[in-house]
Amino acid sequence: MRKALLAILYFLATAVALAFLTLPLLAIFVHVPPSELIEQLSNPVVTDALIVSFKTTVIAQALVLLFGTPTAYLLATRRFPGRSLCITLVELPLVLPPAVAGIGLLAAFGRAGLLGSSLRSAGIALPFTQSAVVIAVVFVASPLYVRNAIAAFEAIDSNLVAASRTLGADSARTFFRVVLPLARGGLVAGAALAFARGLGEFGATIMFAGSLQKVTQTLPLAIYAEFEVDFDVTLAISALLVLISAVLLIALKLTSLWQPSEQISPSRFDRLSWS
């Protein structure tokens, strides 16, 4: 009797959770017929926002991968005094409210900020530019990648790396031919999370970069601006973002780059360690 009751409760909880997560997404598409969606694709507000979002997120993603990967590898494999502090600092933007991130960026790189005068003498003015959007996105998205990358690198069996070195490969070759492929799952998952986070960034962007069509108005900023003007456009942009995110996730799953987490799928018990 109790077993059946428990089973019903589990089922109910799952049903509620799934319904809650999918309902808002379905509701958007119920409100936006496909014809409307296609029509909105020719709306300059939508296309400009799409271009700004893509340009800034792709550039930011490249920066995150370029700087984040060596940072993660260092933090994962080397032990040095202050290592935990460094890891905490790298993770900090994750728990920071985006608006606070925006204020922080202004306080650092704004005209009256810490680096303001140095940037000005170098002829660089950051606030209100597309570069500001990139910086904001990098700031909020990089912890997601670095954290996952650290975990991925830490999970690599050091014996495999040692074996590679003893077999004659130098550090660089080992890194690219042994370490990266082994860490591939975690790195891609981290990159996907960072990309999605960056695409949806709002608070830091609107504070640091402002909002101007064609320059700094990303898709989320366009949603906010259109909300009080034309709710149909708002729905269309939202539907577009849902589609982009869904395509991203499905593509990753199909190319089996989105490797299942060890905790939620059968783990591979056949990783023998010689220690």
């Binding site: 704004g110 606030p127 402002g210």
Partner: protein
């Protein structure tokens, strides 16, 4: 001294009860006194939610600290009300938005309750050396305005059109979502100039310099407010509106820098 029972707890309980009772009595007495002398203390309409334009952030709670307030761009608030947000009163920085909502049956007939003036603000450091509105034509000036759907944004466009300075829009670096965001960007010296209401500039003394807009170019900035149709507390909502229109309310608005409405327009 042994009051209740053999244990110390009995005495503690009695003392606690006495203190509690004393505090309760004092509160009730004070509350009662407050209700009886409401010509002196600020009137309180509780249990209603007021959606009001961002420029009213500081003055409305001074008129009545009772309601729950939600301040923001009038256009955003109107959109929220259209989507069913639980507001009892809607106060907008123009009369067009309340009129639109009234036409859709979302609010009762709006009344005008105050006026305002548009000004140009620059940071006190004045990095772009702006001395008049015409200086906005200089190349590279970082001008921040509100989005056109926001009342202050549309008033800005009116002013620029009147002064023949629409070309200045090429210097706009950001279209903010409400007037206080425009003010912040200028107060932080991130923007070189921005258009806000004179009442907003007064809230950040020392951070911005106010440049007046010539009287002939000044748009008619009229604030309208209305009871929301879906309100479940229309009587209190109406009381709040009456408070704002009362002598005391109008005095507080005037003290904050708002422009008094001509007597004939108070609508009551």
């Amino acid at each position: 001294m042994e009051f209740g029972g053999r244990h110390g707890i009995g005495r503690r309980r009695t003392v606690t009860l006495a203190v509690f009772g004393g505090v309760l009595f004092t509160l009730l007495a004070a509350g009662g006194a407050g209700a009886r002398t409401d010509t002196r203390t600020s009137t309180h309409v509780t249990g209603i939610t007021v959606y009001a334009a961002a420029s009213l952030t500081d003055v409305f709670p001074k008129i009545d600290s009772g309601p729950r307030y939600s301040f923001g761009a009038s256009s955003t608030l109107a959109a929220q009300i259209t989507q069913g947000a639980p507001a009892d009163v809607f106060a907008s920085a123009n009369t067009t938005i309340p009129a639109q909502l009234f036409a859709k049956g979302l609010v009762r007939k709006p009344v005008v309750f105050t006026r305002n003036r548009l000004v140009l603000v620059v940071p006190t450091s004045n990095p772009a050396g702006i001395r008049t509105v015409y200086d906005l034509r200089k190349k590279g000036v970082k001008l921040v305005v509100a989005a056109p759907a926001v009342p202050v944004g549309s008033y800005t466009l009116q002013v620029l059109k009147q002064m023949g300075l629409i070309s200045v829009l090429a210097n706009v670096v950001s279209r903010e979502s409400d007037v206080r965001s425009v003010l912040s960007k200028v107060a932080l010296a991130e923007a070189d100039a921005g258009f806000v209401y004179s009442t907003d500039a007064k809230t950040v003394p020392g951070k911005v310099r106010v440049l007046k807009i010539p009287a002939w170019a000044q748009p008619k900035v009229t604030y309208g407010m209305a009871v929301v149709s879906s309100s479940s507390n229309k009587a209190d909502a109406q009381r709040f509106i009456k408070e704002v229109l009362s002598k005391a309310g109008q005095k507080k608005l005037f003290a904050a820098g708002f422009v008094p409405i001509p007597k004939a327009k108070s609508g009551h």
